[in-house]
C-alpha cells in the first residue's frame, strides 16, 4: 500500500496536541526520498520504495526510512538500492538489514514464536469471544424456561390479585 508511508512521529505530535518538546531533531521537514537517490530502473525503484516503507529508521520513532529525513535513513535507503542493484531479492535485502541492525529494523515483526502473542491476539480474541458469545446465547436459551418468580414477587402478586378478587 503506497499510501501508508508516513512520519508517525510528526502526526503524533500533531494529533496529540501537546508536544512541546524542546527544539529537537525531529522537526526538519526535509523529505525522505529525494530525486537524486532514485534508481533509473522504475521496476527496481518501485521495489526499493516498497521495501523502504517496511523498514524502520533506527534513530527515529516509528518512522520508516522512506519517510525519514534523518541521515541514517538516507544511508539505509541508499543501501537498499545498492543491494537491489547488486541483484538481491527482496528477502535477501531484508535479511541483510536484519543481520546488521536486528529485528528492530522491521516495522512488521516476523511471524515467529517470539512474536506469537502479537500475531495471535486478533485470532484468539475473535475465536474465544465468538465461542463465548455463542455458548452464552444458546446456553441461556436452553437453560431457561419461563422465569421463575422469587418468593417476594409471588407474594406481591398474591397481594395485588387478592385486592382485586
Amino acid at each position: 500500500m503506497p499510501m501508508r508511508r508516513r512520519l508517525a512521529v510528526f502526526l503524533a505530535a500533531l494529533l496529540l496536541i501537546v508536544v512541546s518538546a524542546p527544539a529537537s531533531v525531529f522537526v526538519t521537514p526535509a523529505f525522505a526520498v529525494n530525486p537524486d537517490e532514485m534508481l533509473a530502473d522504475p521496476a527496481l525503484e518501485t521495489r526499493a520504495r516498497k521495501l523502504s516503507a517496511g523498514l524502520r529508521c533506527l534513530v527515529c520513532q516509528n518512522e520508516s526510512i522512506d519517510d525519514s529525513n534523518a541521515d541514517l535513513a538516507k544511508d539505509l535507503r541508499l543501501l537498499v538500492r545498492e543491494r537491489l542493484k547488486a541483484g538481491d531479492t527482496d528477502e535477501e535485502v531484508i535479511d541483510y538489514l536484519v543481520s546488521r541492525y536486528g529485528e528492530f529494523v522491521l516495522l512488521r515483526p516476523r511471524f515467529d514464536w517470539a512474536n506469537l502473542a502479537l500475531w495471535a491476539t486478533p485470532v484468539v480474541v475473535l475465536l474465544c469471544g465468538g465461542l463465548l458469545a455463542l455458548a452464552t446465547i444458546s446456553g441461556r436459551r436452553k437453560r431457561r424456561g419461563p422465569t421463575e418468580l422469587s418468593a417476594a414477587e409471588e407474594a406481591a402478586i398474591e397481594r395485588i390479585t387478592a385486592g382485586r378478587r
Binding site: M1, P2, M3, R4, R5, R6, L7, A8, V9, F10, L11, A12, A13, L14, L15, L16, I17, V18, V19, S20, A21, P22, A23, S24, F26, V27, T28, P29, F31, V33, N34, P35, D36, M38, G54, R56, Q61, N62, G102, E103, F104, L107, R108, P109, A114, N115, L118, W119, T121, P122, V125, L126, G129, A133, I137, S138, R140, R141, R144, T147
Partner: protein
C-alpha cells in the same frame, strides 16, 4: 496575582473534589437526602473553580506573562493572538488542566441535567466522578503545576512548538478531550451501578446519551487530527498507526461497541454484564491513552514528560481505577443476572457480532501498541510494530464487520429473518456488484482487491440507506405516502443510517486514495512543469514572505488542464527562528472530492531548484466527510425522543392531567 488566584482555585477545587468523593456516596448509603445533594453543589462549584484556574493560566498566556515558567517555555510575545490562547493547552501542564476542566465540566452537566436520575444513582455517579477528578488534580498539583513562577522573569518566551501553531490546535485537543474524558461518565455510571448492585434498562437509557455525546466529539476530534496531520506534515498521509493515534483510536473502537451494546440493554435488558464491562474498558482505554502520552513511556517526541515521577503517578492512577473497577466488577457482576433471550440471528445477535469484532479490533490495536514496550521490559528485546502490521491485522478484522453492517438494522429483535433482510438488500448488492465489475473493467482486471474495496464501500453506502427507504415504502405506497412515512421515521433510524452511511463514505475515500493516488517527486526550478493525473503544474515563482514570528519561503504554482489554467497553488516552508525549526505549509487544491497536494522539500545545493512532492489524491476528502456523517448520525440519535429521559413520562402525565 491572577496566577496565584488560579493556583489557589485549583487547590480549592481539589478539596471540593475530596468532599464530593465522599459525602454524596455516604448520603446514598444512609438515604440522607441532604448529604446526597452536596454532590450537585460540589460538582458545579468544582467546575467553576477549575474554570477560574484555567482562565488564569490562559490570561497569563494572552498577556505573555513570562514570570510563569509554563508560559515562558511555551509561548512567545510575537505569536498571533489565536496561538496565545491555544498555547494554553499546547504543553503538558496546560493540557492536563484542560483534561480536568473537561472532566469537571461533564460532572457539572450530570449534576445540573441529571434531575430525573434516581437520587442515589446520581449521588454515586458524582462521587465516582470526583474520585477521578481528585486523582488528576493531585497529579497536576504535585507533579505538573502550570502556575510555577520564574524569578527573575525573562524578557522573551521560547515559543510554542511551530507545528502546533495552527488553527488545528484550537479545535483538535478540546474536541478529542471532550470525547476521551466524556467516557468517564459511562464509567462512573457503571461503577455506581455496581456499587448499588442494581442495573436495568433505564440505566442504559441514561448512559447512552452521555456515551453518544462523548463519541460524537471523539469521532470529530480524531477526524480533525487526521486532517490536520495530513495538511501540516507535508507527507500527504492521513493515518500513521502511531502509538499516540492508537491511544485515541482504541477508546473510539470500544466506545462504538458500547453505544451498540447499550442499545441492546436498553431495548431488551440483555447484555447487562457485558455493557458494564465495556463501559469500564472504554474509559480505561482513555486512561491508558493518557498514560501512554503523558508518562513518556513511548520514548518518542511526545515523551516530553521526562520526569519519571509523572509516569509513575499516572501509572498509579491507571492501576487504581482500572484495577479497582475490574475487582468491583468481578465481585458484583454475578449479581446482575438475566435479560431477554434472543436467537443468534436477530438484532441482538447482530449487535453482539458488532461488539465481537470491534472488541477484537480494539484488542489488536492495543496489543500492537503495547507489545514492543512489554517485550522490551520482559525480554529486553527491541522490536518495532508499525503500519504494515496494522494494515495486515486490523483490515481483515474490519472486513466481516463492514460487510455485516447493512444487515443489522434490518433484522428483527429476538429472532431475525436473515433471508428476508438479504432480499431487501438486493439493490445495495446490485450497486456493489456494479462497482466491482466497473473497477475491474477500468483497471483491466489488475486490481482485484481494490475492486472488492469499492464494492464493499458501495454495499455500505446503499445498504445503510435501505432501512430508511424500505420503512418509508416508497415503492409500495407511492412517493407521497412514502415521503410522509419517511419524515415520520424516528430520528434514531436516521441516526443509524447516517452513521453507517458515513462509514461507507470514509471507506470509499480510503480505498480510492490507497489505490489510485498518483505521486511525483522531482526537482523543479522557476518555469519548469510536471504532469500529474492529467494536470500540468508549472513552477511560476518563489518568494520570501515574512510572518509574525517566522519567515516563509513560498512557491507559486499554476495548474493547467489542456492548457487552461484551473487554479493556482501556494506551497511554502516556514522557518521559526526562536526554535530554529522549519514547518511545511502544503499547497492543496480541492477539486470535487479530490485534492492536488503540493509540498516543498529541500532546495538544491546551488539554490537554483527545489525538491517538490506532488500527489493527486482522488476522493481523499471523503475520508473526513464520512466522519462528519457519523457525527451527524450520532447527533440525530441523540435528538431521538426515546433518549430524552423523562420526556415520554412528562407528556403522559400531562395527558392524564388533561383527561382528569
Amino acid at each position: 496575582m491572577i496566577v496565584e488566584i488560579g493556583h489557589f482555585a485549583l487547590v480549592l477545587s481539589l478539596s471540593v473534589a475530596l468532599v464530593q468523593s465522599v459525602l454524596p456516596m455516604l448520603g446514598a448509603r444512609r438515604g440522607d437526602q441532604r448529604l446526597m445533594e452536596t454532590g450537585t453543589i460540589a460538582a458545579s462549584g468544582g467546575f467553576v473553580l477549575i474554570a477560574i484556574a484555567f482562565s488564569a493560566l490562559m490570561a497569563s498566556y494572552v498577556t505573555s506573562d513570562f514570570s510563569v515558567l509554563n508560559v515562558f517555555e511555551n509561548s512567545n510575545s510575537r505569536q498571533p493572538l489565536l496561538y496565545k490562547f491555544t498555547s494554553t493547552w499546547g504543553n503538558h501542564e496546560g493540557s492536563m488542566l484542560l483534561w480536568v476542566l473537561i472532566l469537571a465540566f461533564f460532572g457539572a452537566l450530570v449534576a445540573l441535567f441529571g434531575r430525573d436520575l434516581p437520587a442515589t444513582l446520581k449521588a454515586n455517579v458524582l462521587s465516582v466522578q470526583a474520585w477521578i477528578l481528585a486523582a488528576f488534580l493531585l497529579f497536576i498539583l504535585l507533579t505538573s503545576n502550570p502556575f510555577q513562577r520564574l524569578d527573575p522573569a525573562p524578557m522573551e518566551g521560547q515559543d510554542l512548538n511551530p507545528i502546533l501553531q495552527d488553527v488545528g490546535l484550537a479545535i483538535h485537543p478540546p474536541m478529542l478531550y471532550l470525547g476521551y474524558v466524556g467516557f468517564s461518565i459511562a464509567f462512573s455510571f457503571a461503577i455506581a451501578a455496581l456499587i448499588d448492585g442494581r442495573i436495568d434498562a433505564a440505566w442504559a437509557r441514561w448512559v447512552r446519551p452521555w456515551t453518544l455525546i462523548a463519541w460524537i466529539f471523539l469521532t470529530l476530534g480524531i477526524a480533525m487530527g487526521s486532517y490536520w496531520a495530513y495538511y501540516e506534515l507535508g507527507w500527504g498521509g492521513w493515518w500513521f498507526w502511531d502509538p499516540v493515534e492508537n491511544a485515541s483510536f482504541m477508546p473510539w473502537l470500544a466506545g462504538t461497541a458500547l453505544l451498540h451494546s447499550a442499545l441492546v440493554m436498553e431495548k431488551r435488558a440483555a447484555l447487562k454484564i457485558w455493557t458494564i464491562l465495556l463501559a469500564i474498558l472504554t474509559f480505561s482505554l482513555s486512561l491508558l491513552g493518557t498514560f501512554l502520552v503523558r508518562s513518556g513511556v513511548l520514548t518518542s517526541v511526545h515523551a516530553f514528560a521526562t520526569d519519571p515521577a509523572r509516569g509513575v503517578f499516572i501509572l498509579a492512577i491507571l492501576c487504581l481505577f482500572i484495577g479497582g473497577a475490574l475487582v468491583l466488577f468481578a465481585l458484583r457482576a454475578s449479581a446482575l443476572e438475566g435479560g431477554g433471550l434472543f436467537a443468534p440471528i436477530s438484532r441482538e445477535g447482530a449487535l453482539v457480532f458488532n461488539n465481537l469484532f470491534l472488541t477484537t479490533a480494539a484488542a489488536t490495536v492495543l496489543v500492537g501498541t503495547l507489545y514492543p514496550l512489554l517485550l522490551e521490559v520482559v525480554a529486553g528485546e527491541k522490536i518495532s510494530v508499525g503500519a504494515p502490521f496494522f494494515d495486515l491485522t486490523f483490515g481483515p478484522v474490519m472486513v466481516p464487520l463492514l460487510f455485516a453492517v447493512p444487515f443489522g438494522p434490518l433484522l428483527g429483535w429476538k429472532r431475525g429473518d436473515l433471508l428476508g433482510a438479504a432480499q431487501r438488500l438486493y439493490f445495495a448488492a446490485g450497486c456493489a456488484l456494479a462497482a466491482l465489475v466497473g473497477i475491474l473493467a477500468y483497471t483491466g482486471g489488475t486490481k482485484i482487491l481494490t475492486a472488492f474495496g469499492f464494492a464493499l464501500a458501495f454495499w455500505l453506502l446503499f445498504g445503510s440507506l435501505t432501512d430508511l427507504f424500505s420503512r418509508a415504502a416508497f415503492l409500495k405506497k407511492g412517493w407521497r405516502t412514502g415521503l410522509a412515512r419517511f419524515v415520520g421515521l424516528p430520528r434514531s433510524a436516521f441516526g443509524t443510517a447516517l452513521a453507517h452511511f458515513g462509514l461507507g463514505v470514509t471507506l470509499l475515500g480510503i480505498v480510492s486514495v490507497s489505490s489510485f493516488q498518483e505521486e511525483v517527486i522531482t526537482t523543479m526550478a522557476p518555469g519548469s512543469s510536471v504532469e500529474i493525473a492529467g494536470y500540468s503544474l508549472t513552477f511560476d515563482r518563489i518568494a520570501q514572505r515574512p510572518g509574525a514570528n517566522f519567515d516563509a519561503q513560498a512557491v507559486h504554482f499554476s495548474v493547467r488542464r489542456d492548457g487552461v489554467v484551473m487554479t493556482e497553488i501556494d506551497s511554502s516552508k516556514r522557518f521559526f527562528p526562536v526554535r530554529q525549526m522549519t514547518t511545511t505549509e502544503s499547497g492543496i487544491w480541492t477539486h470535487g472530492f479530490s485534492q492536488l497536494y503540493v509540498s516543498l522539500g529541500d532546495p538544491s545545493a546551488d539554490k537554483q531548484s527545489i525538491v517538490v512532492r506532488i500527489w493527486w489524491k482522488p476522493l481523499v476528502t471523503l475520508i473526513w466527510i464520512g466522519a462528519v456523517f457519523m457525527a451527524v448520525g450520532g447527533a440525530f440519535s441523540l435528538a431521538d425522543r426515546r433518549l430524552r429521559v423523562g420526556a415520554p413520562e412528562r407528556s403522559r402525565r400531562k395527558a392524564s392531567l388533561a383527561e382528569a
